[in-house]
């Protein structure tokens, strides 16, 4: 894949390479009555053109909040971005005023939501909703927009697009609705597409079709794709790199194949071991003990220490930094090398 491609970004400084999207030490907190919930604590990643980054994590790990913060559509209050930077081709989006920032949404960075039924407006036909992108952002006439909408619906492989353009969201099946959502988000040919659990609400065969569609669209348009998911299986075929999140932090970063073969963080290891496997049929399924911590009371030391089978005293006292274990692999664990070698 195109992970090593460079490109002439217009805003790139003389030094040359500014990544397409660069998230640096992002911090997000929710100020609620029960206290401050630190949903994202220093998440960093970067994304290049044509690259797919998977952000993996269980519910409440902060992956969706990260996406909303990058998009700048966090409900505020209660959510606040308290630190870090989100740079699109070198331009820090967080420092822009809202109306300038809005210009990036849809055109440069777009998002696909998890549940397309609730993400589509129930009172308008789907064609009208997709067409809104062209009418509002490009000032197209209704007639021209309609032609483009049919093209786009065909592009996301909706059968009989011409006849179905005036149907309402509830008249489509789950997979078709997600295709419509995807059509809307790619309408303006964005450079970055964030897909927040795009297949979670769908059944397995449809999941595969949607992932395939996303992959093809990404290749064809050289988009950077951020795939947010809790499903290790979904990631394997599509992603180039993976970041594993836990309690608002990135625990491990790696190229996709390596992480499956040899995890370097006990949490990733636990996740991989908890996937049901055909060759272990009949045996007890191993699960990670305990529950994710409440974000208002993150334990001191390593966030994962109360659930970690290898936790030592140091894990309860000192928070491990995300360090490079072997070239290209990062792990936030005091015993990363040992986990990687399988020696503990």
């Amino acid at each position: 894949m195109a992970t090593t491609d460079t490109f002439p970004a217009p805003e790139a400084e003389a030094a040359g390479h500014a990544p397409l999207l660069d998230v640096d030490d992002l911090q997000v907190e929710f100020r609620t009555r029960d206290g401050v919930a630190k949903a994202v604590n220093g998440v960093s990643f970067s994304l290049d053109e044509g690259e797919t980054l998977a952000i993996l994590g269980e519910s409440g790990s902060g992956k969706s909040v990260t996406a909303l913060a990058v998009m700048g559509i966090l409900d505020s209050p209660p959510g606040f971005v308290t630190g870090g930077a989100v740079r699109f081709r070198g331009q820090d989006l967080l420092s822009l005023p809202e109306d300038e920032r809005r210009a990036y949404r849809g055109r440069n960075i777009a998002m696909v939501f998890q549940d397309a039924l609730s993400a589509l407006n129930p009172v308008f036909p789907v064609g009208w909703q997709i067409g809104e992108m062209f009418r509002v952002h490009e000032g197209m006439s209704k007639k021209d927009a309609r032609v483009r909408v049919i093209e786009l619906m065909e592009r996301v492989r909706i059968p009989a697009a011409r006849e179905r353009i005036d149907d309402y969201p509830h008249q489509f099946s789950g997979g078709m609705r997600q295709r419509i959502m995807i059509a809307m988000s790619i309408a303006l040919d964005p450079d970055v597409l964030i897909a927040d659990e795009p297949t979670t609400a769908l059944d397995v065969t449809v999941q595969a079709q949607i992932m395939e569609l996303l992959r093809d669209l990404q290749r064809e348009r050289k988009m950077g794709l951020i795939l947010i998911t809790h499903d290790l299986g979904v990631v394997a075929d599509v992603a180039d790199r993976i970041s594993v999140m836990y309690a608002g932090r990135i625990m491990e970063k790696a190229v996709v194949g390596e992480i499956y073969a040899r995890p370097s963080h006990p949490y990733t290891k636990g996740l991989l071991e908890s996937i049901p496997r055909v060759d272990l049929k009949g045996q007890d399924l191993s699960a990670i003990q305990g529950l994710p911590p409440s974000l208002t009371r993150i334990p001191p030391g390593c966030e994962f220490n109360p659930r970690c089978p290898y936790a030592q005293d140091i894990c309860r006292e000192k928070r491990p930094a995300l360090l490079e274990v072997v070239p290209g692999r990062f792990s936030a664990c005091h015993f990363a090398q040992e986990v990687l070698d399988g020696s503990i």
Partner: protein, 330 residues
């Protein structure tokens, strides 16, 4: 751009996933819909068309709609119903009981009660209609702004709303209208306008509350976030995503209060401060009749009955519309 069809023949591309549009509606018809009511195949059905489909089969809606249509025709073209002049009065006929000549009898001035009741519909319906429109616009707008923007804007608007909410509609109406009295020389439309303004000032609060709460519900919907994620600005999102999804309960409530406004107008006119002669209205007629209830009950009976029927028709219509628009009641 590569041609997608080259990679994926459209026939194979998820064709099995497509559900036929009327498979869902057919299911509905089988489980919930009235038996023997054929669903229109292949026709997209929005909330509105669904509601209309239900309404057409609801006897309460049909009855109330027919009454309202008759009333509206009465208000617009009173000449259709009577050829008598409501302003031609003969004191010799004062308070004569109903007869073949005058079906509803004569009032104290010797005017034909039937003609005056027919002509009275116009003022009553105009007041009801204009007040409802004004209240919907004012209340809807304030409620929408408060609900959508939240924060201090919501706090300020909500406190203002509560102040107005505390004033009883009738008492407030009496106060406002007594401060700006009309006299027989005031043009009809000005008199009607005063009543409309007085009622609007006092009655916008309920509508604003309904609008605010539904907007708060709708603004957290995923499709609003999605619209923001795809670059929609606040006015755009309000207009094409929040408003269409939040307006149904407001329409329903507006239909119900229309009847109530007609009743309040009659009450104010009865008290002598709403519409006043020479305006012909049911409230004025009831006021005239009140002194002679024992001697000539027909003077009260007919305008009173028509007023009751009108208010009832609008409230019934509102109920039917609410049932049709509220999916939870199905």
């Amino acid at each position: 751009m590569t041609d997608p069809s080259a990679l994926y023949p459209p026939a194979a591309a998820g064709a099995d996933e497509r559900i036929h549009p009327d498979s869902e509606t057919a299911l509905e018809a089988g489980t919930e819909g009235p038996p023997g009511a054929p669903q229109q195949a292949d026709k997209p059905r929005s909330l509105t068309s669904d509601a209309w489909h239900d309404l057409r089969r609801n006897p309460i809606f049909i009855v109330s709609a027919v009454i309202i249509v008759v009333l509206v025709v009465m208000a617009a073209f009173p000449g259709v119903f009577t050829n008598k002049d409501p302003r031609f009065c003969d004191l010799n006929l004062s308070r004569q009981a109903p007869s073949a000549d005058a079906w509803f009898g004569y009032d104290v001035q010797g005017c034909d009660v039937y003609a005056r009741t027919i002509y009275g519909a116009r003022a009553s319906i105009l007041v009801g209609l204009f007040t409802t429109i004004a209240v919907t616009i004012v209340g809807g707008l304030i409620g929408m702004i408060a609900g959508f923007y939240g924060g201090w804007i919501d706090s300020v608007l909500s406190r203002i709303l509560e102040i107005f909410f505390g004033i009883p509609l009738l008492l407030g109406g009496v106060l406002v209208l007594a401060s700006f009295p009309s006299n027989p020389g005031t043009p009809q439309l000005v008199t009607i306008g005063k009543v409309v303004i007085a009622l609007t000032i006092l009655a916008w609060t309920s509508l604003a509350r309904i609008m605010r709460s539904t907007v708060i519900q709708v603004k957290h919907a995923d499709y609003v976030s999605a619209a923001r994620a795809l670059g929609g600005g606040a006015p755009r999102i309000l207009r094409s995503h929040v408003l269409p999804n939040a307006v149904a309960p407001v329409i329903v409530y507006a239909t119900i209060v229309l009847g109530i406004f007609i009743g309040v107008e009659a009450t104010l006119s009865f008290l002598g401060i709403g519409l006043q002669p020479p305006v012909i209205s049911w409230g004025v007629a009831i006021n005239d009749a009140s002194t002679y209830i024992r001697q000539s009950p027909h003077m009260l009976l007919f305008p009173g009955a028509l007023l009751t029927i009108t208010v009832l028709a609008f409230i019934m219509l509102g109920d039917a519309v609410r049932d049709a628009f509220d999916p939870r009641l199905r």
